[in-house]
Symmetry: C2
Subunit: 181 residues, 2 copies
């Protein structure tokens, strides 16, 4: 098994159920449903437009518990949009990694093992939608960025994960990334 | 998304906790932990020699809830071993499919949607170990088959799955197989 190492720049949660914008924390504790108290927490979640195999609202296993983005992918999207930077808060991300190129291409089944104890399973690419684009547009006062984000962030918007080993993820953690064979 | 169709030849469970040999049923009902009453049931399971990222016994999310094999892969293994056939019971399989070539190569993230309502997520190849080989060896009175099975069944031993949509899987069900993009 190929194992790479990266680092955890920050960890973030969404305590406000009415907003997907996240806020940085020192650490988060995860269990089999994700991050308790976070808006994406739960063993089950309703299928939405991303799960076209099911009628909208069907309660299915929650494999979109935790959103992970990277400094490298964010920088590429920022360059494509012509903005200085893109913060993980605006993307609703829960973890910001650095030191692993092309994080978004990580295949389903890859594992992320954090130094503080928790580990996650990659469930695949987080397909970009317009909501973070609107947040970026608002931050820079450039309304045209909202729709442009969806295209610019393709294969650069990070991944969604679920929890394999409950435990802690802390800002500053080293993380080992293991590719499936 | 590419979707293929196959059929469910049989469904099986292991009510006996001391044996991995499965027994055919008319139907099974699955929930987020797998097949209630089956020996592989549970939201958590102890890591074993297949999960080398964790110390043995670490309680992790159970992604090996349901074992699926195929008529086609079984026939290939039987031919390699020089035996007439290999029954799903001897492999401890829970579902036997037919009509989908190279089932074992199905990547993590593929979905299997059964006509009776349940759907499963492919978690990847079920790496062959010696236990089913011993069962095959006993069935044919040929002890040398036990060790040969492990090599002969590589990439032909089926997949392990977890439950995405709780519900029923019945013998005779059509199943749609959706590849991840």
């Amino acid at each position: 098994m190929n194992v790479y190492e990266a680092r955890t720049e920050s960890v973030l949660t969404t305590p406000d159920p009415d907003s997907f914008v996240t806020h940085a924390q020192e650490r988060i504790t995860v269990d089999l449903g994700g991050i308790p108290g976070d808006r994406h927490y739960g063993l089950l979640r309703p299928a939405d437009s991303r799960q076209k195999l099911y009628p909208r609202g069907t309660m299915i296993a929650n494999r979109r518990q935790i959103s992970i983005v990277s400094v490298e992918d964010n920088a590429e999207v920022a360059e494509r949009l012509g903005v200085e930077n893109i913060l993980p808060e605006w993307l609703g991300a829960n973890v910001l990694l650095a030191g692993f190129e092309r994080l978004t291409l990580l295949p389903p089944g890859a594992r992320l093992l954090f130094e503080s104890g928790a580990s996650l399973i990659c469930e695949g690419e987080n397909e970009p939608c317009i909501a973070p684009g609107k947040e970026i547009a608002a931050q820079y006062g450039r309304p045209e960025l909202a729709a442009r984000f969806v295209k610019a962030a393709k294969q650069r918007r990070g991944i969604v994960c679920s929890v394999e080993l409950p435990g802690v993820i802390a800002a500053g953690d080293k993380v080992r990334i293991a590719l499936p064979r």
